[in-house]
């Protein structure tokens, strides 16, 4: 009972703070120019974490200077309008049918023209979604294109300094990525990041993290923020001017 009361209070507090800080729009030029974390609908697969993109957009807006669209839109890989916003979020928790040729072509062109795709396995304890993702990325970019991403990559210092990927589950020690033109154009997580971000309308987290603890959830949110910042800033944090600061802080930890 006390626990429920606490959760309710926490939810109300989040709503109150949100109302106070809620900007009137995504930016001075309107929502149209704000960063849209678009969810991808593919192969009749229902989004495993339907509120994850919205929650991530909120966290990015609250924590950084990035103007995000608080109601992310949805799209398909074969949608001609896919090129209107360069960031896609694709999550699932089960095996799915092969994408159509038009969807594969759309994904390939989206990446080729500068887009960034975050793929999130919401059921990393099963291999259905994982198997399908590897199959489709192999079709789009060639077998072997998906490779482990070192934990020294810019993604782990694009805003927060992180040691390794974590989501709802601790998962593998590394992310995986498809590299194009010197950037990680597709990043694949088997940590159920969206599961750690998902909240209900009262602000309560919907899924417990494993092995657990607020720190793990916070680190999952930080990784989400870093991924969006990486999509926007690329290797900015590799610039020489950042090196002494980052090395000092990493050395201090």
């Amino acid at each position: 009972m006390i626990s429920r009361l606490r959760r309710l209070c926490a939810g109300l507090w989040v709503v109150l703070v949100s109302a106070l800080l809620w900007p009137s729009s995504g930016g001075a030029f309107g929502e149209a120019t704000a960063v849209d974390i678009r969810m991808v609908l593919a192969a009749k697969l229902s989004p495993a974490r339907p509120t994850a993109a919205r929650r991530l957009a909120w966290e990015v807006r609250q924590r950084t200077s990035v103007e995000t669209r608080l109601e992310p839109t949805r799209t398909r890989f074969d949608d001609p309008g896919i090129f209107e916003s360069p960031l896609l979020y694709f999550s699932g928790d089960r095996e799915f049918q092969p994408l159509s040729e038009a969807e594969i072509a759309g994904l390939r062109r989206f990446v080729e023209f500068g887009g960034f795709v975050l793929i999130d396995d919401a059921a990393p304890d099963r291999d259905g979604f994982d198997r399908s993702v590897r199959r489709e990325l192999g079709r789009a970019f060639g077998d072997g294109a998906l490779r482990p991403l070192a934990n020294s990559h810019t993604v782990f210092r694009s805003f927060y300094l992180l040691e390794r990927p974590q989501g709802r589950v601790e998962g593998p020690a590394q992310l995986e990525a498809v590299q194009r033109a010197g950037r990680a154009a597709v990043i694949y997580s088997r940590h159920d990041l969206g599961g750690a971000w998902d909240r209900d309308d009262l602000g309560n987290y919907l899924h417990p993290v494993q092995p657990g603890g607020n720190r793990q959830r916070e680190l999952a949110i930080r990784l989400g923020v870093n991924l969006v910042l990486y999509a926007l800033c690329l290797d900015y944090k590799d610039d020489q001017v950042h090196s002494p600061f980052i090395m000092r802080r990493r050395g201090g930890q």
């Binding site: 030029f29 120019t33 924590r63 950084t64 103007e67 023209f113 944090k237």
Partner: protein, 741 residues
């Protein structure tokens, strides 16, 4: 009028001599085969008859195949035009013994004029052939040209007088500067060349810098090299000291070993530490006995640039516009990019201690006080200065631009009026007037339109053809949202404008504007969605290149890439001798990149200290082009050629050049009478010297002229063919009758 008969034999077969040789060999082979068969004929008279018939058949067949013809010509010998070609290059100022070569030449021509025995046309030659007025022959004026190109002069003389040229008299020292020129090249020249050699072949006693090779462009604070070759007259000299100077200050010195060939070679490194044009000079010591001290010093011009364009990009917040611009700038190896993103503001929630963040302080003081001048271009992209205590730096940014820097502001919710720039020092360098306030923005998508008359401005020239360029802009994805602007500054050019929104005076709302405040340049792009010209356009057309092309040209325009400048002036060379002919070509356009047609501009020659030494009015033609020939200044040093606009104030274009006392022409001024003798011998002329030259009337200037010709072709008839058939038929019949194959 004496006449001559000449008869010549020619072959009329197709293919000329090579084919004739092959045919002759075939006929000879056939004949020999036939003769070998005769050994089986026992009766001697039969053998002799068949042999005679075979030889007769071969001879007739050969004559039929080769068709020899006789051409008889009747020619008359006439006295042709006589040309006197006087060397006017600077090596003629050398004094071998007593008077200079130019003085000797001018006295000789004066003598010929006085004799007036034979009329002649007088030309001067150096780099080119030019008519000379005999009345104006002054030795000092004669030795002005920077090159000696004898072969070019001879060819030009024949071209000018193809029908009546009798002979050419060349008065020169033979110190030709044409690479690999030899008398043998004139074997087929066809006109008699008489030579008068000036100067002697023995050693002048001249030390010289023979050649200097340096890159015309060097990079700031990076080692560059100059290659130098020195020739010493003293065969016993072992070393020579070479000094490299810039603006009179020694920057390098080197002692060189002299080789067995009397030449010393070295590569001298130097490190330019100043941007712009610099005049460097190389020198060797001048011996008191040196006959040509002018060639002991050589100068060269170096344009010092940065190896890479330094760009400072400050972004108010990460966005797709900043992401694509940074990616483009980073991808260009010619750009040295310093980027700062404002990743968080004081409004953002901090849920982590500083140690867990990768954020770094915004080094405003270092950027805008210490290093601002080191950047070629500064870009504020959706950046508001207010939260970062930058008010104190805004005057510095203005002064940096007014002094020649470049600045671009790209739109967004923190830019222009929404960024608080109205009535700030930055507003003084922007080419636009802005509406104040955070709400000074417009939402909605729109397709910007190219401004009429400015389609050829390099910043918006996506394609060279105006129609293709307009079509390229129409294919681009729409922009979304823009900052509200209220006007343009006086010299601003609005290159793109909103299709519907208007300013207060009813003119279209500008979207992309360029200007030239002070000595600098500025660009205003009142939108933060130009990235859509890349990715969003590619989604529809498959081609994302327009975005990068636009920014490539915008950056180059901001950095004053000479290829994108509206007007250009070029000199025909970079180094001149004192008083040498300097040819300048201009392509004149106004700031809108429209040709300046029939415009009266001034071409000004300035010393490196800014002092004007010469001015000449120039009028452009119907396409804005102009060409003019000037006389290079007499004083050695670095100079600047500037084109002053018709308003008499602004400068349209400039170029640098060097005047050096020596130069290539004096690198090896030794006279070459042997070469002149060879030329005379090969062309059928006579060779003499200044002292031994006789009167012009004694020189052979005769030429032959054909007055009638006749052609005989005795073997081009059916009768001769019948002879072949009969002779061959008789031989064949007798062979059959006497049992031969």
């Amino acid at each position: 009028m004496p006449t001559l008969e000449s008869v010549s034999l020619q072959l009329g077969n197709p293919g000329g001599t090579p084919v004739a040789v092959v045919v002759a060999m075939l006929v000879a082979a056939m004949t020999l085969l036939g003769i070998r068969e005769l050994s089986s004929v026992t009766l001697a008279w039969r053998r002799r008859l068949l042999l005679g018939l075979r030889l007769a058949t071969a001879a007739v067949a050969l004559l039929l195949a080769l068709q020899p013809r006789w051409i008889s010509e009747r020619v008359e010998v006439v006295q042709g035009r006589l040309l006197v070609l006087l060397d006017v290059s600077r090596s003629m100022q050398v004094r071998d013994d007593g008077a200079s070569r130019a003085t000797q030449a001018s006295e000789l021509v004066a003598r010929w004029r006085k004799e007036a025995a034979v009329p002649f046309d007088l030309y001067g030659f150096g780099s080119e052939l030019r008519p000379l007025k005999t009345q104006a022959l002054q030795p000092h004026d004669l030795a002005r040209d920077d090159e000696s190109r004898l072969r070019r002069a001879l060819d030009s003389a024949v071209e000018r007088h193809p029908d009546d040229l009798g002979a050419i008299v060349v008065v020169t020292d033979g110190a030709d500067t044409t690479p690999d020129f030899s008398a043998a090249q004139l074997a087929e020249f066809g006109v008699r060349v008489h030579t008068v050699a000036l100067g002697s072949e023995r050693d002048l006693g001249d030390d010289a810098i023979v050649s200097v090779k340096a890159d015309p462009v060097a990079f700031l604070r990076q080692s560059a090299e100059v290659e130098v070759v020195v020739r010493l007259s003293d065969a016993d000299a072992a070393r020579v000291a070479v000094s490299l100077r810039r603006d009179g200050q020694v920057v390098a010195e080197r002692g060189l070993e002299v080789g067995d060939d009397g030449l010393a070679r070295a590569v001298l490194p130097f490190v330019p530490d100043r941007l712009g044009r610099s005049v460097y000079s190389l020198s060797i010591p001048v011996d008191a006995r040196d006959r040509v001290p002018e060639n002991n010093e050589r100068a060269f011009l170096v344009r010092v640039t940065r190896d890479r364009l330094r760009v400072l990009l400050v972004c108010g917040a990460p966005s797709w516009d900043t992401r694509f611009l940074r990616a483009f700038l980073k991808s260009d190896p010619a750009i040295d990019l310093i980027t700062f993103f404002i990743l968080t503001t004081h409004n953002d929630i901090r849920l982590a201690p500083a140690e867990e963040l990768s954020l770094i302080p915004f080094p405003t003081d270092e950027l805008f006080r210490e290093h601002l001048e080191s950047f070629d271009v500064v870009i504020f992209q959706d950046f508001n200065y207010g939260p970062y205590q930058m008010v104190q730096y805004l005057p510095r940014i203005r002064d940096y631009v007014l002094a020649g820097g470049s600045f671009a502001m790209i739109g967004g919710s923190k830019a222009f009026g929404a960024g608080g720039y109205v009535r700030t020092p930055v507003a003084e360098i922007l080419p636009v007037a802005m509406e104040p306030g955070e709400r000074a923005v417009m939402e909605g998508a729109f397709a910007p339109r190219l401004a009429a008359g400015l389609e050829r401005h390099p910043v918006v020239e996506l394609a060279p053809d105006p129609e293709q360029n307009a079509a390229a802009w129409q294919r681009l994805a729409q922009l979304v949202g823009m900052n509200k602007l209220t006007g343009l500054t006086d010299d601003a050019l609005a290159l793109l404008h909103h299709p519907e929104a208007k300013l207060g005076d009813g003119t279209p709302m500008p979207v992309l504007v360029v200007g030239s405040p002070g000595q600098g340049r500025s660009l205003a792009l009142a939108s933060d969605s130009a990235w859509r010209w890349g990715m969003a356009t590619a989604g529809r057309t498959g081609d994302p290149s327009a975005y990068e092309k636009f920014w490539d040209r915008a950056l180059r325009w901001l950095a004053r890439d000479p290829l994108l400048e509206p007007a250009r002036v070029e000199t025909d060379r970079e180094r001149y001798g004192p008083g040498a002919a300097l040819r300048a070509r201009m392509r004149l356009q106004d700031a809108r990149h429209q040709p300046l047609v029939n415009a009266e501009v001034v071409l000004r020659v300035e010393q490196s200290d800014g002092q004007v030494v010469h001015e000449a009015p120039v009028t452009s033609d119907a396409v804005g082009a102009a060409e003019v020939e000037l006389e290079a200044p007499m004083q050695p040093g670095g100079y600047r050629l500037a084109v002053i606009a018709p308003d008499g104030q602004s400068e349209l274009a400039d170029e640098g050049f060097v005047v050096e006392a020596g130069g290539d022409e004096l690198a090896d001024p030794r006279a070459r009478p042997g070469l002149l003798k060879d030329i005379a011998r090969i062309t059928g002329g006579s060779a003499s010297t200044a002292s031994s030259a006789g009167a012009l009337q004694d020189l052979d200037r005769s030429r032959s002229r054909a007055v009638a010709s006749q052609q005989h072709r005795p073997f081009a008839s059916a009768v001769f063919f019948l002879v072949l058939v009969v002779v061959f038929g008789v031989e064949w019949g007798l062979r059959r009758a006497w049992g031969l194959a």
